[in-house]
Subunit: 302 residues, 2 copies
């Protein structure tokens, strides 16, 4: 049975430079990409914070795409801003500026109406905040969490508790190596799962993503594209598409997660073809289904 | 109908250093890895050259594995030697020494007995030599060629002629970008195919390999491993497993090539688990089939 997906994370204004050009203060933030990605499959509840400078048109855009904004706090101050530049081949990116603004004191509160949601995705916020959200969610919620290298370095204990308490952890290969000291993705995965985790996804950017459980291993390739304009939000869109698919199905079995990863890859392939989440918001279900078909064909053996 | 595979390329003595250790003057060379990989599937004809210092035990090892050595010239001088060191994560390697020895004046001659072979794989030798071999092979031979960045820089015209004349080109993503000036693998592939090529494989190391034709695109992932000891010969083993599979089947249809790439990936996954081609030679068909099963499961959707 379809249930809404609750998303906790950042909404931001991004200034981005890639080989395709430069855009200033466009709509960004992990929670924003996740919301638009998941919104293709299921209703979305957003828990985030913006400043009083956040453009009304962006809030309207979210509302128009069926994102419930009861959990979006608008407080006095500046919206989180991030500026970065990608290398020509997109293999690396350089942060040119980070202004946390109101995100610095973000204290996520889950509105009572969101407690009926059976699925939640916690963006890469401070692990202590992820734990607070975990306390606030009904115990039966299927929770996925993202993290980032910063928390691995600075708050490893809180992060370890997050990993023990969530159902699905989504990280990239570099973070998996940092967490475990293991360079082989399969060995790193085993160590993380042994710590007490049911599902682990390790993303490898343009190469695809692995799923690991105690017994199973699965790989969802990324779709090769003619042009990449802006990779910002690709990983978030992948996670949003996956979790949106699960919430839309109302189940989080191994099979559902495998299929959901292909949906996630399809959605992510659209996110990187334009600058900004406002462009990405135009994503249609038919386009997603077409790309899922291409991804299935990509690895189909005779 | 099974036919032998004719291989033209290098036989070498490698000195290799990786995070797993160091080995001196072990059996290496592209043609050696290709021969052992393909030998799992079909009889192999080897066209190569070694010096009078080439250990008899290595020649015996090849013969014991069913490699026909009529085309292996033994001449006065030193065998080709290569020395290199891999970064801890295997993302890069540094060449510490190259001594071409008798390989510098290698002039491949195809023994008359090899002309019944319906399949040939040309290692990354000078494009002028690849053209000479193409002239010597019966016209109906299905020919695959490998190349390297050096020839893209130094002999682009001869290389372009090789590409026009072979059936299948096998390169890596960096070489595809060098050949075309295109960073997106799909766009680079389209440009190369438009120049007049039926099948193009672009390898991406530990991430897998793409197949492109005018109409089709296929991806064969690599198998995640618990430990990598020495990546030397991985790409050659992949190509050898693929071409061995095709020669063993006696057909080179699109479907056969897709399946062959999975066999190639399975074989390559074994090549990197030990130092040197002599260890790799122990590869058994049952192990390959088991890994093919794992690779099929890796991307199998519910």
């Amino acid at each position: 049975m379809t249930t809404p997906l609750t998303i906790v994370g950042s909404v931001a204004l991004d200034t981005i430079e890639t080989r395709a050009g430069k855009r200033e203060e466009i709509l960004g933030g992990a929670a924003t990409y996740i919301a638009f990605a998941a919104g293709v499959f299921t209703p979305v509840n957003l828990v985030a914070v913006v400043g009083d400078d956040f453009p009304k048109e962006y809030a309207d855009l979210m509302a128009d795409h069926g994102v419930d904004l009861q959990g979006l706090k608008r407080v006095k101050g500046r919206t989180f801003r991030w500026a970065g530049r990608y290398a020509e081949d997109f293999s690396t990116r350089e942060t040119l500026g980070t202004e946390l603004g109101v995100f610095e004191t973000f204290d996520p509160e889950i509105p009572a109406a969101y407690r009926t949601s059976g699925f939640a995705l916690l963006g890469n916020i401070h692990p202590a905040l992820q734990l607070k959200v975990l306390d606030a969610l009904p115990k039966e919620t299927f929770v996925a969490a993202d993290t980032m290298n910063l928390w691995i370095d600075t708050t490893p204990d809180a992060l370890a508790e997050v990993i023990r308490r969530v159902n699905l952890l989504i990280i990239n290969d570099e973070e998996a190596a940092m967490l475990t000291g293991e360079l082989q993705v399969r060995v790193a995965a085993r160590k993380i799962i042994e710590g007490g985790l049911e599902f682990l996804i390790i993303k490898r950017g343009e190469h695809g993503a692995y799923l690991f459980t105690r017994e199973a291993m699965f790989f969802a390739p990324a779709l090769p594209l003619d042009e990449v304009v802006d990779p910002t939000g690709a990983g978030d869109s992948f996670a949003g598409g996956l979790m949106g698919h699960l919430a839309g199905r109302g189940e989080a079995t191994l099979d559902a997660i495998k299929t959901g990863m292909v949906y996630g890859a399809a959605v992510a392939s659209r996110a990187v073809e334009a600058f900004g989440a406002d462009e990405f918001a135009k994503l249609k279900r038919a386009e997603v289904d077409e790309r899922v078909g291409a991804l299935v064909n990509l690895v189909a053996l005779p």
